[in-house]
């Protein structure tokens, strides 16, 4: 069973049954899942969560799907690592990395898709679908395989080979669309209107997006049911950013956090803010697609769409569905928003790999360069507890850091090896290091 009570429009508060719907018929506002929190409060406890599976489904009471038999390839429960080396470099003594690059299909999308797929099966859909430039396609195809249903994934025809293979291997029906970003967008929205399929981020979006709350729950649980002082998050649609905040506030209101008294959720579940939640939410985007950052910096309450042109393809959403809600979270959490210069994206990837042994894709490069900026500007103080969310795996965007390949080339003899090593060490010593 689940504890949902249907859907509600975020803009006009009209209520809808819990069906495969995402837009309000009256005002075209987004629909959100409504929960029966008073019943949840009666059953949920830290012990009950601890006894659950080592996946996002340990938080089943707070997910909008019947969890008796979820479509689960083990998304979530990923490591939270103390980052001593990176912390030292940045002057931060309490820095943690939430390493979500080790999910089954190698990105955080497994969290949202696991919820959407479970709901799709519950609704009786026989096809799971999406439009994607990478991570989402992989996750949708993988979960459909697990559920034993068909998947259809739309990709732009110029998508990199590695990403295409990463999704194709799961056996989806793959549709490669010859068209620009806007045209692919429009086509997929039209297909979604005309086919009775579960499009994870269209008609399933209210359920899908809730999966990102688990990124908030897990960090709190892994810190001993405490919240960090700061979180640094990569944003595309802005959904994950708003849902991590929602997750923190749900835990607080339900009395699950250490030393925090439970509180009522009030009339609007989506804007609830428990006064004990003082985590500052830092949003990062790459400069080549940063509509939310631009809106925040110019004090706007709405987000002007842009045409994406960034190396961080996983964050390339020009017209972000949750942009205005992300702006509101920035405001209430006294957060910041930063657009990482394009060349710094690859630098961020290298910095994390060289200091912590974690290889992330471009979205993680954005986060690490954003984190560096926050540390240098003093927004994060040396003793503050900060968590950087690393949401995707470096093997997905190898081309961005191909300049790191620079081996010592030698003939197969000891002499050649020793000569090359000596020269290398001399050069390294000149640069302030050695082998």
């Amino acid at each position: 069973m689940d504890f949902t009570q249907g859907l509600k429009c975020r803009e006009c508060a009209r209520e809808y049954p819990g069906e495969a719907l995402n837009v309000c018929d009256y005002c075209f506002g987004p629909l959100e899942v409504i929960y029966d929190y008073s019943t949840i409060a009666e059953v949920i406890s830290r012990d009950r969560i601890a006894q659950g599976p080592l996946s996002i489904w340990r938080y089943k009471d707070l997910l909008p799907a019947d969890s008796t038999d979820p479509v689960d390839i083990n998304a979530g429960y990923t490591p939270l690592l103390k980052a001593r080396n990176l912390g030292k470099k940045l002057g931060l003594r309490n820095l943690y990395i939430k390493n979500d690059s080790v999910n089954p299909s190698f990105s955080f999308k497994d969290r949202v898709v696991s919820v959407a797929a479970t709901k799709a099966v519950e609704f009786g859909f026989d096809t799971l679908a999406c439009a994607s430039t990478g991570n989402l396609a992989c996750s949708v195809a993988a979960h459909a395989a697990r559920a034993g249903i068909r998947s259809v994934v739309f990709i732009p025809s110029d998508l990199e080979r590695g990403k295409v293979i990463g999704a194709a291997v799961y056996g989806p029906t793959m549709v490669s669309v010859e068209g620009n970003y806007d045209e692919v967008n429009r086509l997929c929205s039209e297909v979604a209107d005309n086919y009775h399929w579960a499009f994870v981020n269209i008609n399933m979006r209210p359920y899908y997006a809730e999966g990102s709350k688990t990124l908030g729950y897990e960090v709190a649980e892994q810190l001993g049911w405490r919240l960090p002082d700061h979180v640094v998050i990569p944003s595309a649609s802005g959904a994950m950013f708003t849902k991590i905040w929602k997750g923190f506030n749900e835990l607080a209101c339900l009395g699950l956090l250490e030393g925090v008294a439970s509180a009522s959720f009030g009339p609007d579940q989506n804007t609830v803010h428990h006064p004990a939640v003082v985590t500052r939410m830092h949003l990062t985007q790459a400069a080549g697609c940063s509509p939310i950052v631009t809106a925040w910096n110019s004090g706007q309450t709405h987000v002007l769409p842009v045409r994406p042109n960034t190396v961080a393809k996983s964050l390339a959403i020009g017209n972000p569905a949750d942009g205005i809600y992300a702006l509101r979270v920035l405001k209430v959490s006294e957060g910041t928003a930063y657009a990482v210069p394009e060349p710094d994206v690859a630098e961020g990837i290298k910095l994390l790999a060289e200091t912590e042994g974690i290889f992330t894709e471009t979205a993680g490069g954005v986060v690490i360069s954003g984190l560096k900026h926050l540390a240098e500007s003093g927004a994060i103080k040396p003793d503050d507890l900060a968590v950087a969310y690393i949401t995707g795996n470096g093997l997905k965007t190898l081309e961005v850091v191909s300049d790191t390949v620079n081996p010592l080339r030698i003939k197969p003899s000891m002499r050649a090896f020793e000569a090359a090593l000596k020269e290398h060490n001399q050069r390294a010593a000149g640069n302030g290091g050695s082998l």
Binding site: L136, I202, A321
Partner: protein, 80 residues
């Protein structure tokens, strides 16, 4: 006949242009505003268009030539 939901975004002087009025006058399209936020130098309007599919396509192509942006009401659906 069909219905289509779109979000139009206006920046700068375009805010003052009667684009939606002209869309209804010059094309066989009924326009119905559902929600809007228009400020001095920028604004957006959520609109339902009712008409033949081909006519709506022509109408929106014209809107784009004015410099007004046409987007999906639910945000971009192609994700990373």
């Amino acid at each position: 006949m069909g219905k289509q939901r779109v979000k139009l975004t206006f920046v700068g002087n375009l805010v003052k242009d009667p684009v939606i009025y002209q869309l209804g006058r010059d094309f066989k399209i009924v326009t119905n505003i559902r929600r809007a936020d228009v400020q001095e130098d920028m604004g957006w309007v959520m609109l339902e268009l009712d008409g033949e599919d081909a006519e709506i396509r022509r109408g929106l192509a014209w809107v784009r030539t004015t410099g007004v942006r046409v987007d999906l009401v639910s945000g971009d659906v192609i994700e990373g």
